[in-house]
């Protein structure tokens, strides 16, 4: 699926739930499916700055596509990073760099996160884009 198609399906999933408690429950459940980062990468080098909870993110390039793994000590944060992984994992660096992230506004995630969490979300996206940028050069 393209980034746009994945984003559309996430927007659809979110729009089926009108209560934010249910949406959080969904994020918590999603967090449990997050592709776990290998323990060797669960270190300070892979830590994302700007989050109140700790988030580790790793990326690997396989056949020209980036595959992300992650972990967090907070389950909602883990759900959020998995949401982004769903969108970006298995895509090419160029597609990731060109992606429009407007879907986050559509699902209202940013406005429903506390400012610290919203900063954390932006830091996660930024880190994924940095990976894409570096791996684009590597190719």
């Amino acid at each position: 699926m393209t980034i746009k198609e994945i984003q559309d399906s996430i927007v659809e999933d979110f729009s089926m739930l009108d209560d934010w408690m249910d949406r959080y429950s969904m994020l918590i459940e999603m967090g449990k499916e997050c592709p776990m980062i290998d323990t060797q990468y669960r270190n300070d080098e892979h830590l994302i700055n700007g989050c109140q909870s700790r988030v580790w993110l790793h990326a690997e390039l396989k056949d020209g596509k980036i595959y992300f793994t992650a972990d967090s000590d907070a389950v909602i944060t883990k759900g959020i990073i998995y949401l982004l992984i769903k969108v970006f994992s298995g895509q090419t660096p160029s597609d990731i760099l060109a992606a429009d992230m407007g879907f986050l506004d559509e699902i209202g995630l940013k406005e429903h996160l506390s400012p610290t969490r919203s900063n954390g979300l932006l830091s996660m996206i930024k880190q994924m884009l940095i990976y894409a940028e570096t791996m684009k050069v590597e190719r």
Binding site: M21, Y24, I28, Q52, S53, A74, I76, R117
Partner: protein, 407 residues
């Protein structure tokens, strides 16, 4: 004096009467800032509507009225903490500015290479970082009073540190993370035996306890208005006159000077030499209104109500599976800090926020305290006079539901 009637009190705080995410707001983040009663809001509004003027230098009517009002506010605050005279009160932006003032000015006066300053292991960053940075500049050393796993300071260790002849002791009256009420009167007595001045950080105590600076015999007492029902941007520094006379000014500019030439400047008298520039007059009048508001009740009755809230919340939390209290000193005040096994405080705070309950999560500007307990943060529920037992029931239900979702 008014009888303490919770319904009447709550009517004074319109902000409490609102829904967030469709649910009645429960505001338990009072240790961060309290809400403001109508009398405070109206006092500041009235100042800008009818009285606004720069003070201390105008010949005209409004300026004289504003000056008088500002100086009366100083008198009210002085009487509130039983200072000997109003000149012992310096208006600042709050606790943080008061402590930066003291770290800088006392640093200039007292600290040389190799000198020491004592703080405790449970200080807010505001009562640690200014000292630490000053000591780095001067080549001095920070000594830290140890605490135990209940959040009780080790007074034997403190006595040992005093023998190292530190130049200053600066300690929290009530811990903002552990709720510990420190035995400051005793600690001041111990320091004075060695002729060491003591600063008490009263940020968490002013709204909850009767403060008598003469009885404590502290050399300085610092506080924030916004944590005691007053506006933001105003606070105070009480200092014994002999100390305020001795220490040099912190900031320079208008108002704080006596005679000025390009060669030399002499400074205004205490407390004006510490109030450079135009002060926040409107907020100072708001602070005076807040003090009068607190004084309008029987303080013991308010204390009993707040103690009831803390005890009830603690009792109810004990029933939650996997609860861990952070801070279990026998004398606690105003707040409860906790964790639930396997649940990140940030997740818990996020979910109960959606149920209308406002608490604080994280390290509460006391990272060394979190490091001591080996945790990343806590959930902190903190109370004010307008909170109710019913709100605690809502809070407990929200915590239970969140714990269920997050496990």
């Amino acid at each position: 004096m008014k009888r303490f009637d919770i319904e009447e009190v709550r009517k004074q705080f319109p902000v409490l009467d609102q829904k967030v995410y469709g649910r009645q707001l429960v505001y338990f983040d009072n240790a961060a800032t309290t809400q403001k009663p109508l009398c405070v809001i109206e006092r500041e509004r009235d100042y800008y509507l009818n009285e606004n003027c720069n003070i201390h230098r105008g010949v005209h009517y409004l300026s004289q009225m504003a000056t008088e009002a500002y100086e009366n506010a100083r008198k009210t605050v002085a009487a509130f903490i039983n200072a000997r005279k109003s000149e012992e009160i310096v208006f600042t932006r709050g606790t943080t500015e008061s402590l930066n003032l003291l770290a800088t000015s006392l640093g200039h006066l007292l600290i040389n290479k190799g000198d020491k300053v004592v703080v405790s292991a449970m200080e807010h960053h505001s009562n640690m970082v200014p000292w630490q940075q000053m000591l780095i500049r001067e080549g001095g050393e920070l000594l830290v009073i140890k605490m135990d796993e209940n959040g009780i300071l080790d007074l034997n260790h403190y006595a040992e540190l005093l023998k190292q002849r530190p130049k200053v002791v600066s300690i929290a009256h009530i811990s903002n993370t552990l709720a510990t009420v420190n035995p400051v009167k005793e600690m001041i007595r111990m320091a004075h035996e060695h002729d060491i001045p003591v600063i008490v950080d009263g940020a968490q105590s002013m709204a909850h306890q009767v403060i008598d600076v003469q009885d404590l015999d502290c050399d300085f007492y610092v506080f924030s208005g916004h944590k005691m029902y007053a506006p933001m941007g105003i606070g105070g520094l009480y200092g014994k006159t002999e100390w305020l006379e001795k220490i040099p000014p912190y900031q320079f500019g208008g108002e704080m000077v006596d005679k000025v030439s390009f060669e030399k400047t002499t400074f205004n008298k205490v407390p004006f030499k510490f109030e450079a520039g135009t002060p926040n007059v409107g907020a100072a009048l708001g602070l005076e209104a807040a003090v009068k508001f607190i004084q309008s009740f029987d303080r013991q009755e308010v204390e009993r109500h707040e103690d009831m809230l803390l005890n009830y919340a603690t009792e109810r939390l004990k029933d939650i599976d996997g609860i861990r209290f952070v801070g279990q000193a026998p004398r606690r005040n105003g707040l409860v800090s906790f964790l639930i096994d396997g649940i990140h405080p940030y997740d818990l705070g996020t979910i109960i926020d959606k149920m209308g309950v406002a608490v604080r999560t994280g390290h509460h500007c006391a990272e060394p305290v979190m490091t001591f307990f080996g945790i990343a943060g806590t959930v902190r529920a903190s109370f004010a006079m307008y909170n109710t037992k019913e709100e605690i029931d809502i809070f407990i239900k929200a915590v239970e539901k969140a714990a269920m979702m997050l496990r």
